[in-house]
């Protein structure tokens, strides 16, 4: 399942680059299905990066400071909810600049 989420994520990232937004509805729908299957998928793009975030594996270019942001997300963060317990099942792979 994690690989399916990754592939859908990659597909969405590619489509965003084309500038069209015809597909947003479909991706929202897929995201909602993942939620129903107890997978909480987070795309941290644009978020400020803090070293304390253990849910991402960051490649940091340049100085890490308060203004460091996640500029590219190669893989999303995936949490799984099992019996009300939330567990990290995939760390996001990100570039921080």
């Amino acid at each position: 399942m994690i690989e399916i989420i990754n592939q859908i994520f990659a597909l969405e990232s590619k489509l965003i680059k084309t500038g069209s937004n015809d597909y947003t509805r479909n991706f929202d729908r897929i995201a909602s299905e993942f939620e129903n299957l107890n997978y909480h998928v987070i795309n941290p793009i644009g978020k400020p990066y803090r070293n304390e975030m253990t849910d991402v594996e960051a490649s940091i270019s340049g100085d890490l400071n308060k203004n460091s942001k996640i500029t590219k997300v190669l893989k999303p963060i995936i949490y799984q909810i099992d019996d009300n317990e939330t567990k990290l099942v995939q760390k996001g792979i990100v570039i921080v600049e």
């Binding site: 803090r50 490649s59 940091i60 590219k72 990290l88």
Partner: protein, 832 residues
Amino acid sequence: MKTINFAIDLGTTNSLIAKYDNGKIKIYNNPLGLKQTLPSCIAFRGNRIVIGDKALDYLEKDAENVCMLFKRKMGTQDTYHVPSLDQEKQPIELSSLVLKELKNFLPDDETANSVVITIPAAFDTIQSNATKKAGYLAGFKEVVLLQEPIAACLAFANTSNIAVKEKEYWIVYDFGGGTFDVALVEVDERELKVIDHQGDNYLGGADFDNLIVKNLIVPFIEEKTGQSDLWKSLKSKSSAHKGLYFELLKKAEEAKKELSNFEETEIELDITINSEDLYDHLIIKREMFENLILSNVENTVTIIKDIIKDNQLLNSDIKRVILIGGTTYIPLIKKSIANAIGVEVNASIDPTSAVVEGAAYYAGSKPSELKEEENVEEEKTQEESIIDYKFFYEQNTRDSEELITAKFSGVDIANFRIIRKDGGYDSGVKALKNNSFSEFVPLLEGRLNLFKVQLLNTDLEVLKTIDPLSINHGSYSVNGQPLPNDICMEVDDLDASATRLERIFAKGSILPLKKKIYKTASKTILKKSKSNLTINVIEGKSNGLPSSGLSIGYIEIFGEDLEDDLIKGTDIEIELEISESRELKINVYLQSCDQEFENVFSESERSISINKINTEINTVLGDVEAVIKTANSLENFEYSNKLESIRVGLIEIQIEASMLQDDDISDTKFQLDDKKRKLIQEFDDLTRNELVAKEIEEYNDIKADLEYHLNQDENERFKTKYQRIIQNEKEVINSLDKYLIRSKIKELEELYNAIIQSSDENFISYYLGLKFYDNFINKRKAERLFEQGDKALEQKDYKVIRHVVYGLSALVPESDRQKRKDFNDDSKTGLN
């Protein structure tokens, strides 16, 4: 006899911890990540200490405050100057910090007082003693050392069950991410001994990733973009392509891993370089990669040859070569060694965890010399030290970060650490200021966030763990306005030929609220037809009847509004939004028509349809009359009198409503709707318990039937599924929600059918049961089937019985069919 059981591979680049437990080895995962490995790396950031993966973040920015590869300095007087603390850190102290962090991998109910720690074959007495000291400093009471190649041999011997009768020589080839080592081990019946070793401290798998970027990816990008000198620019400290370099390294690492399993791999490049987008694919064949790394691999083979020669041995004296370290996944390595030495090269053990695994086997057989009393005494002293604390934080919030403030009193507390239990956040070890701390912690949206707070002394030993602190994100806050009732939507309940309420927002949720839900159309609506789709949003109890709640938003979409046919089974997307001022916005998107409808409702605009009131009353009246009939037959006249007055009330409303026009502007229809709701609520309250009791009874019946079958040996395999279904039984029953209970019954029924269908013999009782049935659609056909069945029963041919049962079942009139047809009329919502 008590054995040590715990083992640690204290590596130059990565460390692991494992336990021997009854013949099995458990390697612990880092609770803050998904990996078993902990990078042996520490960052000192003023009053904060970060150990492991996250310490690597500071390598670029603040390399002088990051300590790594300190294992190479063990036993020397070299120290690491940490400018942020203005202190000198010794390798022993740094190693002890890694060991303490590994202790954190153990679950709260496990403590390790004795441990086996592995050391390289090259370690002399002083280096070995330094490692022992690090172990004691980390709080272990007993430390036993074991050489890494020996540990690898033990892992191999234990997993492959080989018996060594005469003296043999084995080579352990250890090629990790950053270092390379070869050891020659003498093995006989009784012992394993390292007799020689050699290595290269500056060769590792990471070098191969760089080779891929430099020689394959960069030339490809240069060719496509016309860029020159890209490699130089990527590596330069002031480069604008810094982010790109790391991205390419990641891609190269992935390609390297793929090429260990496949003949070729594809690197997908989707990058921006000098403001130009490049999207392309680069195919790398295994052969290309092997050509790149060949000289490095040959160098390692030369080291093996040297070690054999230096010990006056011949290649044929070597019985086997054991591969460990992540880099040995590369097939070329195995092939090159086998060709050069001509012996069995064994890659059967997991190269990453072999050392800790072997060490754990050793720990499982090594008696502990630690006296039991020492453990008891230790626990006592911990209990005696009293620590007082007070925490201040918002338990419910809508913010993405929340402040946790705490104040402590008690001896020795110097540091704290906050960890979010889902693994997504770690504050690192931080110093307390004036016996208190204030820390912002990030929260996962819409979830219950659980935190664990550790209190540590100056030696970074954990004195107390406070577990858990819980912060609920998004559900309640003092400032927000909570919903006084559930907000639900009316949907079709095809099984019961009625409609029911589905909860969208729960009572107590904080405004504003927004949610997108997906439904499917339960009927086809042709364009221009009179048929309609109803979206009815209701405020009221979600387990009540739809007509008992207050309709706060009502949309009817008619066939004439549609640009295309709405086809049954297609998606309907409904977005509901309630603002802080309780304004309701409904946005409906119909997939098959590609059409959007948007409506905003506020108190003044509330729309009530006379039609709807009438339909609702009609539906309920039928039910009321049925219950009155049953109550009368049971001579429960008091009950039936109450119901009768509801019936009369409802009919009166219907008469009044029939006299109103649909476009009536007076308050009358609101008053009628209100009256109707109250009466239906009354009916609902009177009957709900009875209905729920019936569902619970049915639930228990099917459960008893299932348990009977599950107790038979052949159905053992269904037990896990059964346990999973009934796992939240209490919650479901206590909810007193008949739809929830019904859905559980359905799940149990499905399992029951699966069990029955798993064996032909189970059909006998069905067959015998059908013999008492006499309402078959085609009686002659049924008789013929019974003849066949009786014969099969005599011959014990149960497969035939199964088919006969299927055949007979098809001849039973399906009453449901008619019911469903009736239901697909325009009176229901059209949402499934």
